[in-house]
Amino acid sequence: MRATRETTQNCPGLDRIELFVTHGATDGDLQEHIESCPSCTEQAAMVRENNEMFTDVVRLNERRPRASETSPEPPPDLAGHGYEIVETISAGGQGVVYRAVQTATRRQVAIKMLHRSALASERRRRRFEGEIEMVAALRHPNIVTVYDSGAVEDGRHFLVMELINGVSLSDSTLRERAGGVRGVVALLAKVADAVSAAHQRGIIHRDLKPSNVLLDGDGEPHVVDFGVAKATGARAVLEATQSGEFIGTIAWAAPEQVSGDPAQIDTRTDVYALGLLLYASLTGRRPYPCDGSVTDVIHAITDGEPRRPSTINPRVDGELETIVLKSLAKNPDRRYQSAGALLEDLRHYLAGEPIDAKRDSAIYVLRKTLRQHLIPTSFSAVILLLIVGSAIGAMMLYRDARLEAEKANTIRVFLEDTFASVEPAAGGHDVTLRETLDEAVHWVDVALSGRPEIAASVRMTIGNSYRALGLYDDAERQLEMALRTYRRRLGHHHPDVASALNAMGLLRTDQGRHADAERLLRESLDIRKAAFGDEHLVVSSSLMNLGRLKQTTGELDEAENLYNQTLAIRSRAHGQSHPDSAICLYRLAEIQEQRADLRAAARTHRRVLDARREHLHPGHPDLARSQLALGSLLLRLGEAEEAERVLHEGGGSSESFGWRRLEVESLRGACLAALGRNAEAETVLLACYKSLREARSPANEATAETASRLADLYDALGRAEDAAAWRSLAPDQGSHAAP
């Protein structure tokens, strides 16, 4: 095969291409190569197609009965117990199942004969008997009823159960059989109902898997083997896998089961298993690759992200995906807390009602702070919009013949993929923007291979988002790949190369690598000047970024000069009060403040505030920023009255404009205190603290600052006890600088 394709020295072997296809890019160079080398792109496509056939062949082999599965033990004689064995139905890990007839009633039953090894100790036997007694009391239309149990002379135990004629869930691609997605959900809802009923009686299944769900002639599910896993304990997953033959079993284990701590197994373990059943039934696959070694599989179970079901079966919508992924959360606390809760959501889904998974998670997400990069779903959606936008933009830009034909479809798939990825995050587990971005990276790696320019453009957006989160290494990887691609495909002087250099420059600035940053930003500036002329707005952005760098390094004169150049270009283009011009003034005011020229800074901030009032709607955060900057300057200048007026302007209700508005109110509280209007100050600050507490985490700076202001106020009023109490709520704040 190797010889038949044109390869260069750099072409990776098939083993690496296979790795790339099955696990996504783990190495930038490899991926970049595959993206740009037509021969390797083709190889990757072939591997993808072949692997579908591979799955079919493996599945076929799994369905074939194996020699080792034929009954190793002779059928027992149960005549003394009142049963006649008719034939063997199946043989598995725990024992052999026979079709039998109860002699007295001629009733057909199934008898499960456990292996001798299953109940080796006396303790285990007692446990088995106790457990089976409880299970025998279970009566549910979707649970296989246990009629009887006993032991034969050689010590083997058996269970007499209701006989279900039909197939097990593992026996077929259920998706089609149950009548599409809704059929599958309806079926699994019945299974969840059965499991929930058992949970209510204190029975955990522990070994729910497709082969333990039987479908009768009418397609009704019946769950079998309740209590058996616990009773026979010997088959603890880890133990079972050590022999290497139970990889089929382990694939259905929950993370807490492979971690080997039996104390962690509870009803939520069954919830996970139900999630797996749903996943497998909807997609025909397992959520993780199960073709590696036992260690690989365990690793996938404990750490692997399940592949989103909608990417395999597009008919799985966001809501359903949320339900599935929530059930599959690694941490049991993030799952549905009971089979009943899962059942509720499945019913909501079937009835077209909103599912609980989302409601829970919205509250959950709100509790988290930005510092952990935990972002409400809407933020993720915004970022994804940006990413999608950049992809679409790039597609328009780099139109080529092949792309033109595929464009509509590619965009549709992209949208579906990315937006589906927001949904499960909303309910499945912690929504972090980081995860969203990682997901997007993966998407680019896989779906945009072979479209290097578009991939590069999307990488820019992702890289910038990583940078904003302080994830510099991730940012660097994406931006460097983009830069390399652009340089290779577009030459060294293309505006897109300048954009990538600019982004890298900003990254270096954030990292504190100032010399590198300057080199990159200047190179970007030069390319842009050459391409667009000195007066172009894009050039002004480069100047602005350089100014920021100089301001950071304390080279204030140079920074001032750069900001003035920026301001000149932007004022000519948009006028002086345009927000893009106002930001230059804002920076200039900061420089004045850094030079301790507070009066000049206040005057400049006043201009910024006026400009922003003219252009921005009253709730805009930049307005609040300007108010804060000007207000605190005036307060420092001892002009508390003027400061209070500035902060009060456009104030209105503090709830309507979010937490930045609350910061403004809090500063106003400090002004009121400085003016001796103590009662007002107290009211304002207390209200602020309460709202900030509700809106953001108590560790937040603004909240701590407000507490500190209250402490100062009570100090001034001579209420030392109150002051101390509030001071303790502002641990890092110390005494506030403001009066």
């Binding site: 083993d15 039909g166 077929s172 059989r177």
Partner: protein, 197 residues
Amino acid sequence: MLEKTTTAMLQGLTDPDNDIVWREFDARYRPVIERFVRRMGLPEADASDVTQDTLLKFLRAYRAGSYDRERGRLSSWIIKIARNCACDMLRARAARGERRGASAYAVIPGENQLEIIWREECRDALLEAALARLRSETRTEEQTIRIFEMLTAEGLPAQRVAQETGVTLNDVYLAKHRCLKRLRSIVADMSIAYELE
């Protein structure tokens, strides 16, 4: 080896003396029917009886001209015959007291489910046949096939296959994909002949 299309077979079947075609038809459909009947929940011995009945009934009815391809798919027709045969068998057993009451009928899945099971079994049978051909072909090296079997039938991870056969990981994947590529082309050829509906 060129597969005869199902259409060609059906034409040949009308001739009562054409044993060859009948044997070919039997070879293609007996495994499918047998597995299908097993999936209805019948034990092995019963399944093979029911399969035999089904094939004979089919042939008799076909030669009597009661199958009109315009009016229904071949698969639906065979499914119906197999289902009736299975029911007859269960009824007979119930009458002899081996089974009780309604359960004799509840065993058989509904019509839609049967269709799906049938399709699955056809696909499986086709894949089995394709695999058999892949194995018997001389154009693929023995070692290559061996590696493929280790990966699929034995379910061994690639790393382990490489160790056991003493080749590189890359060679394992080369063998895997060489076989899959060939298998895909065999399946594509055979699907045309099987006229999977």
